[in-house]
Each structure stands twice: as structure tokens, then as C-alpha cells.
């Protein structure tokens, strides 16, 4: 990442480079442990989106959009939504919409337990992260092309 004129000062950029990976990792942790500890798909998804927004604020919009373009975000969002719907529809295997179709629910407190809940968490986090990033990118990009600046 070159230190061109976009974005904030060198200090902010350096700190961002160190922390943004950690924030992303923390978001993923929260998502994956949603069924055994506080958090879950929604909070984790927002944290993931925040990590990209952090990147965008510090380095300017080009750098962040290179990592995750706006169209890619839209596609990811639709995919997340479809995945969630697909999980719901798979419940028809057991006879009902949203049926928890894992007969064996796994040992409590394990990462791989609780049937559909972790899968739903992942789908939601994908959707929320990509969606919020898309909203934010749209607002920022619009500001850039607006008349008053």
C-alpha cells in the first residue's frame, strides 16, 4: 500500500495496518462462536463490515474497494441471503420450514454443535457484512460525486 495523498496521516495508516486484520479475525471468531457465547452472526457481521470501513476511512476509498469491490459486495450479500433461505428450505427434509434437520445435535459447548445454528450464523454474517459495506460504500461514493464538494 503506497502512502499517496488519499486517506489519513501515516500514523493512522500504520496503526490501521496492524489492527485491521485483528478486527477481521475477531469478527470471524464472534460469528463462529455465536451459539456458545454472546455475539452471533449479526454482531460478527457488523464487525467484519467495520474492519473494511476502517480500511476505507484510513486509506481512502480506492484501497478498500480494491479489496472488496461494490459489485462483489452486492453479489456476496445476495448469496448470503440465498444461503439463509436455502437453509430454511432444507428444513423441508424434516417436514417443516426452518426444521433443525441435524438429528444429532453434537456435544454442547463444542464448536460443531447445535445443528443449523452455526450455519445460519455464517450466512447472516456474510449478508450483514457485505450489505453494510455496500451501504457505506454507496454513501461515500455518492459524497465524492456530489455537486457541493
Amino acid at each position: 500500500m503506497k502512502n499517496n495523498k488519499t486517506g489519513m496521516t501515516l500514523i493512522v495508516k500504520t496503526i490501521t495496518r496492524l489492527t485491521v486484520g485483528l478486527i477481521l479475525l475477531y469478527g470471524i471468531y464472534i460469528v463462529l462462536h455465536g451459539h456458545i457465547s454472546p455475539g452471533g452472526g449479526f454482531a460478527g457481521g457488523v464487525i467484519i463490515a467495520l474492519s473494511f470501513i476502517h480500511l476505507m476511512l484510513a486509506f481512502g476509498r480506492e484501497t478498500a474497494l480494491k479489496k472488496l469491490s461494490q459489485t462483489a459486495a452486492s453479489v456476496l450479500e445476495s448469496l448470503g441471503a440465498l444461503m439463509f433461505l436455502a437453509i430454511a428450505l432444507l428444513g423441508f427434509l424434516g417436514g417443516y420450514l426452518f426444521f433443525n434437520f441435524f438429528l444429532h445435535k453434537g456435544k454442547p459447548f463444542d464448536l460443531f454443535s447445535a445443528g443449523i445454528i452455526p450455519l445460519c450464523n455464517i450466512a447472516i454474517s456474510l449478508k450483514v457484512g457485505a450489505g453494510l459495506f455496500a451501504i457505506f460504500a454507496a454513501l461515500i461514493l455518492f459524497k465524492g460525486s456530489g455537486k457541493e464538494e
Binding site: P38, A88, P108, K127, G131, L132
Partner: protein
Amino acid sequence: MELQLLLLFMIFAAVVAVEVEDLLSSVIAVGAVGLGLSLVFLILKAPDLAITQLVVEILCLIILIRATIKKDLPLLRDGRWLFNTTSTLVFIALFLIFAYFALKELPGFGQPIMRVAKEYINNGLEKTGATNIVASIILDFRGYDTLGEATILFTAVMGVLAVIRSVGRIKDEK
């Protein structure tokens, strides 16, 4: 007791947010309300909500600041200011009085009935396998609600992308 203090702090911050003249300060004050709310959730034993409220608050603040920065603030009062404000205040006062008497019929603070909720607490772990009962409710018992919630966010994203288009209509040739 700390609960009441925090609530009073939130009310104070909300009044500041409503009445202060600088827009940026106003946005920051509403951020204080949101963070206070996050703490209140923690006191009320809702860690899931505290985390979510915290991150959502940060996101909201960023969005609102992007919207307000470098914008003007008109400060005007029209002729019927007094009348309108009085009528609004009277309406609010009536609302609060009505609410006060109605709230007396609720079960007291700290003693919910938990008619349905008992079922979730007692059987949640066996039936869903999740140790976080809130997660088991939102994604299994009431998963359909969460489908709606995800759809709302999707709708909002689509709405923002639709509203933000710079050209809405294809102009006629004439």
C-alpha cells in the same frame, strides 16, 4: 440504583442531543445515549445485545457523521412556535399520564411472568444443542423472524442503492 443513574444519564444526553445547536455535537451526544444503552443492556444481563448495540452504534455514528460533516444548521422559529410546542408538550404529557396508570397493571419490574420463556430455558439445550439460549431462539425457535430481519437489511441495502442513483429517469428525446 446504578440502573436509574444510567437511565438519567441517557435522558440527559438525549436532551443535549435534541437541544444543542451544533449538528456534530448533537450526533456525538446521541452516540453517548447509544453507548449508555449498551451499558444498560450489560446491567440487565443481555450480553448479546450489549455487543450488538455497541457495534451498531459505532456504525450509525460513522454514517451520521459522514452525512452531517460540513453542513449548515438553520436556526429559525416561526410565528406559531409557542403554540405548536405547547400542543406537542400537552400531547406528550397526556401520553405519559395515561402510560403511568396503564403501567401499574403490568407485572412489576424484575418479575416477568415468563409463560413461554420457561420452555426455552428448560428445554432449549436439549432441543437445539446451543448453549446460548438467545441464539437458539433467534435461529431455531423463531428462525422465521430472523429470515425477516435479514430481509429487512437486504431491503435497506437495495433501497439505499436505488435511492443513491444519480439519474433516476431516462429522459425523453424531446
